[in-house]
Subunit: 424 residues, 2 copies
């Protein structure tokens, strides 16, 4: 790949019958689109298409003619349906050849999981020569990048980079971030500085209203709000021509701090649980959860942070009232008189958990996740949380809307946020 | 709209810069795709495109030439960015005219929310004459359907239905279900019967090899394999002209049963955890988990099944060895000599948990999820699981590849599968 040109425009092609049939949501297009935006590459089209050789070839060629880069996901599996590599190679006028390092990697993969490699997996190591090959750390299919001639009337020597990536997000995302993105950073002209302001406890539209004047007046930097379940974040992006340009982001961040105060849990890249982990880790403090309606989700989420074993000692999933009573020491009086979804129960759960697991902090969660509120007159979405440490126990009551999964997810975020507020 | 033809093929176009920028996930494409499948309409392409007049017109025409139906979502708002109606009308060679009932509806909408109608909302009532207009019960933008001449070399009188729907899913979905779908049901001929065969414990390519002869010979029914994390499923689809047609699916399912035996956990729609829940619930049995590396994920996943409180009593997240020792009764000898990731530790965890939480079945999970194997010489991905009931305790050793999240997720599936195999 001796030639090199600037990449300004891209199209995204997602290959897979399961996408065309509506069996899975296309999160790859979304991920790649936002990555391309952050790289300053304009993408004008996303296409989803099935495993049909003729249609796929036509589509790759059409996309290559229109853009400098075509990112194609899916269809790199070992089965006869998986035709993306072959189709892209044909469009680029290349033959497939056995790529020995990839073949070795696939064989190793099967050795590691103690299974025999099915014979058809050899197909995944067939790659056009002179490709850049991307290693797949989370599966068997390697990715590849190669140039494709795609002349147009306007530009008879137009070439486009074809980037082929596996379809499963758990394989595609790390491959893109670790191996494709660094290449693209070198081959595009635009530069950006970006900062994130992350908030918990305020809704998207309320948050947006507080900074509406800034958003309306934006030119450079731009300010974009994003909302995800229970959280809200702003991305502030300054387009720069060189690294020496003045920092226009910090003054905006300062204004955000003034207006949002304690809602802000992070200026930067860390998630709420990472912030909580760092706070606890710095203080050498240990943590446990007593979970009823979330049933292990808080613990499991927290453990996503590598190194969490130094902080989280363990948790009690007390789904049944007997477990609350016998293990966590919630009194029979409280369970009978107040019920398991009550201020008092949350308090006793946190205190009992802290004692039982001998941790510096314990957080309890008990609520009604729905779909119905079995045998109580309390509303679905009512959740009590308590945080207990050597200075005492504090209870928080929240009323959440949404389905069972959302109530549980937001409860977990709220638990994390209680720890942050206690320590920050 | 006097003409009427059968609708067999469709394309979906989603209009919106926020989709192209990756700011929101495209759930409309997914919804519409699965609706079209259930109507027996084949869709070969989904396209996402921005609010650019020329590109949008070209795309609508290209899609109309290739198919009998083009469903277009988004870009029906009141602002100058919203150009979908105008673009589609131009492609169809039609003028926009004020549609009085729609204009009335928009004015009413604003009266209902006690606001003045902004003047630019009148634009949303501009619709080509002779359209079928869809009322928007959840917003202001009406939808519309009209025919578009889109001659091709093969078919000089080819026409395609253009269906325009608003972008917000809360407006688009009810409009489609209540007003578009009934029309499409009348104008297409195909019907399908579908069955799913769901497997655990066998990889996608190994599974496919076992039924390669069936897949290669498929015409009707068709057989399509799908893989998701740690699981594998086949969709068998029979195209029928009427409900009376002979069942061609059952013989294929029987062949699958012969060839896959115990790998099959479900013929139908239930997930693995739902199968496990049903098995336990029918037998009035209670369950608990003792989780180390999964740290609550098994319990939390299981609780996704509504009604799970009748089966899952609680769980112990024993992340730290002290918790394993003090709560679950894992002996110091085992922890010192064998380590926490060992056959013996898994066994003692399950037995201790079953005793502590007093359940019929307890399942333990202890393994090395990565990214590194802190201070042991055991490999990342090594996981021990044990299931304990009144008949004794059984241990299973697995070696998983992939990242931390995958190791934990597949471990949870494996735990569920152990319960299934014990009971089925």
């Amino acid at each position: 790949m001796s030639k090199s040109h600037t990449i300004r425009t891209a199209e995204i092609i997602c290959v897979g019958t399961e996408l065309l049939m509506g069996q899975v949501i296309n999160s790859n297009a979304n991920f790649l689109a936002s990555e391309l935006v952050s790289l300053g590459i304009s993408s004008y089209r996303q296409i989803t298409i099935g495993d049909n050789m003729q249609r796929l070839r036509e589509q790759i060629l059409a996309s290559a003619k229109r853009s400098d880069l075509v990112v194609i996901t899916g269809g790199l599996g070992p089965t006869s349906d998986d035709i993306t590599m072959e189709a892209a190679a044909e469009v680029a006028g290349k033959q497939l050849e056995l790529h020995d390092p990839s073949y070795e990697h696939i064989k190793q993969y099967y050795r590691r999981i103690c299974r025999n490699m099915p014979q058809n997996n050899i197909k995944q190591a067939m790659i056009p020569p002179e490709s850049i090959v991307f290693i797949n750390k989370n599966g068997t299919a390697p990715g590849a990048m190669f140039l494709c001639n795609a002349s147009t009337e306007d530009d008879p020597v137009h070439q486009s980079y074809l980037v082929l990536l596996p379809g499963p997000p758990s394989e595609m995302r790390p491959m893109f971030l670790e191996q494709v993105r660094p290449f693209l950073e070198k081959h595009n002209s635009a530069r950006f500085r970006t900062e994130f302001v992350r908030l918990y406890g305020i809704g998207e539209s309320a948050a947006e209203e507080r900074v509406k004047d800034l958003i309306d007046a934006q030119t450079n930097p731009t300010i974009a709000p994003y909302a995800s379940e229970g959280e809200c974040l702003f991305r502030i992006t300054q387009r720069i021509e060189s690294e020496n340009e003045a920092d226009l982001i910090s003054p905006i961040v300062d204004t955000f701090k003034e207006r949002f105060g304690d809602y802000i849990y992070e200026i930067g890249g860390r998630s709420l649980k990472e912030v909580v982990f760092d706070l606890l880790f710095e203080r050498k403090m240990t943590l446990s959860f007593a979970e009823s309606c979330t049933a292990g989700m808080a613990s499991s989420e927290f453990v996503d942070v590598p190194g969490s074993s130094k902080v989280l000692m363990g948790s009690i999933v007390a789904y049944d009232n007997n477990v609350k009573e016998q293990l966590l020491g919630v009194t029979a009086d409280v369970l009978t008189d107040m019920g398991s979804v009550s201020r008092e129960c949350a308090e006793q759960m946190a205190e009992g958990c802290r004692k039982l697991l001998n941790t510096d902090i314990a957080v309890s969660i008990t609520g009604i996740a729905g779909p119905t509120a079995y045998g109580t007159n309390k509303p679905v979405g009512l959740v009590y949380l308590a945080i207990s440490d050597k200075n005492g126990t504090e209870v928080s009551e929240i009323n959440l809307s949404g389905n069972r999964m959302r109530v549980r997810r937001v409860s977990v975020l709220h638990a994390f946020n209680m720890i942050r507020k206690r320590l920050q």
